[in-house]
Structure formats: structure tokens, C-alpha cells
């Protein structure tokens, strides 16, 4: 019995981690192939659309929007490489302009010449309103949806295939007799 419990815990951790790296991968590991495909498409599509509309430099960057970045971290497998690419591009721009660090944003008054150059050079990688807003909504939604997918993968690993909200499910006509047994075992 303790070995079973350890196996279940390990399986849950693996499923959660795999789903965090790639949406649907945890479900795939558990044998829910079609569900894995559904999660992969339904989460990757909004994430990649948001990234294409917003651009990786501004969209996956804790310096420009830390709350968005936090939401995006729900899909770690996309956000971590995106963050590294965005940092690489910014470092490239800094090197091109011969700046040691990113010029501070003016709080009041006139913009410094350095800051103007930085904004101008960076602008080809940045989306502006309304595209930027749309991109943020898509990216944040995808990140948060993947948290649901992670919970679902963990739940299915622990209960042997039952979804996250299985207590609220109507019993299936064919499996109606087996439903109480499944619930009591979880």
C-alpha cells in the first residue's frame, strides 16, 4: 500500500510537471491521448497567437509587465524560452547602441536622448495598443488555462482517470453503476 501511494505521488508530480512544460504532455503520459491533444491545441493556440500579435520582447518580459509574466509562467515550456529570447534581443539592442544598461524611464519632464534611442530601436519588436492588449489577454488566458490543465493532470493521476471536478459529474449511462465505487476510492 505505501508503495502504491508513493507511485501515485510520483505519477502526479510527473504529470503536473510535464503539463507545465508542454500542455497536454501529462495527460499523454497517463494514457489520455485525445484529451492530451485537446489540451495541447486549446492552450498552445492562444499562447502562440498572443505571442505572434504582441511580440516576444514585450510580451514575455517581467520588466515590462510582471503580472502578465506571472500568468504566463503557467506554461513554463513556452515562457522560459520566450523569456530567454526576449533578454537576448534586448541585450543585442543594448550592445548595438553601446549602452551598459537599459536607460531609466523618465518619471516627469523630458525624455533623455538615450531613452529615446532605446525606445526607437526597440519599437520594431513591440506591439502597441490595441494589439498589445489583445496579446496580453491571450497570453494570460493561456497561462491560467494551463494551470487548470495541470490540476486536471494531477487529479487524473491520483484518481486513475477522473477529472478535476469529478464529484460534480453526472453519472454516465453505461458506467452509472461503477460511479459510486470510483468516488469512494478517491
Amino acid at each position: 500500500m505505501p508503495t502504491d501511494s508513493k507511485d501515485t505521488t510520483m505519477k502526479s508530480i510527473q504529470a503536473g510537471l510535464l503539463t507545465w512544460i508542454l500542455p497536454g504532455a501529462g495527460h499523454f503520459m497517463l494514457g489520455h491521448r485525445r484529451l492530451a491533444l485537446v489540451f495541447f491545441v486549446a492552450i498552445s493556440f492562444p499562447y502562440l497567437t498572443g505571442l505572434a500579435v504582441g511580440g516576444v520582447v514585450n510580451s514575455v518580459n517581467p520588466r515590462t509587465n510582471k503580472w502578465l509574466f506571472l500568468a504566463e509562467l503557467g506554461v513554463g515550456g513556452y515562457t522560459v524560452p520566450g523569456y530567454l529570447i526576449s533578454q537576448k534581443i534586448e541585450q543585442g539592442i543594448l550592445a548595438e547602441l553601446n549602452f551598459d544598461s537599459i536607460p531609466p524611464q523618465p518619471t516627469h519632464g523630458q525624455q533623455s536622448e538615450e531613452h529615446k534611442q532605446w525606445v526607437t530601436r526597440r519599437s520594431q519588436y513591440v506591439a502597441y495598443y490595441p494589439e498589445s492588449d489583445m496579446a496580453q489577454i491571450y497570453l494570460a488566458t493561456a497561462g491560467l488555462l494551463n494551470l487548470l490543465a495541470i490540476l486536471d493532470a494531477i487529479s487524473r493521476a491520483q484518481t486513475g482517470g477522473l477529472p478535476t471536478f469529478h464529484r460534480e459529474l453526472e453519472p454516465e449511462p453505461a458506467a452509472a453503476s461503477s460511479t459510486p465505487k470510483q468516488e469512494s476510492s478517491s
Binding site: I43, M134, T164
Partner: protein, 84 residues
């Protein structure tokens, strides 16, 4: 080394943001709602065969709800312009 141009080509749309036509912005709601409905329903199904119908119902519910909220705000906006 031969992979590099292909990777750069794949990464191009994510590095240089795409422009959306002005009329497309509102319609971008629909694919997002479809994704939300799909994931929400996927976390509540035993098996896949019931999922399509449940997802379609959730999709319609969200779109109708959002439309009603938008209409309510539009009417509020008109009323505010009229009376304030």
C-alpha cells in the same frame, strides 16, 4: 547548422509582432472563448464522446453572456451621454 534558418523562419512571427486588421479585433474574442470553453469542459469529462456538445453549449453561453454585458455597458454609456 541547417536547422538554424528554419528555426529563425519559425521564430520570425514571434519576434516581429503581426498587425491585425482593425475589423479583426472584435472577432478575436471567438477563438479565445472556444479555447476557454474547451479547456473548461475537458477538466470535467470522463470520456471524450460527450465533450463536443458540452463545449458547444459552454461556448454559446459565454458568447451570449459577453454580448449581453457589452450591450448593457453600451446602453449605460448612451444613458450617461444623454443625461450627464
Amino acid at each position: 547548422m541547417t536547422m538554424l534558418p528554419a528555426l529563425l523562419l519559425l521564430g520570425w512571427p514571434f519576434i516581429h509582432p503581426l498587425d491585425l486588421p482593425a475589423g479583426a479585433r472584435l472577432w478575436m474574442l471567438l477563438p479565445l472563448v472556444a479555447c476557454v470553453a474547451t479547456v473548461y469542459r475537458a477538466t470535467r469529462v470522463h470520456s471524450m464522446h460527450r465533450m463536443a456538445r458540452a463545449t458547444a453549449i459552454t461556448f454559446v453561453n459565454i458568447v451570449v453572456g459577453m454580448t449581453l454585458i457589452a450591450l448593457a455597458f453600451y446602453l449605460l454609456h448612451l444613458a450617461a451621454r444623454q443625461f450627464l
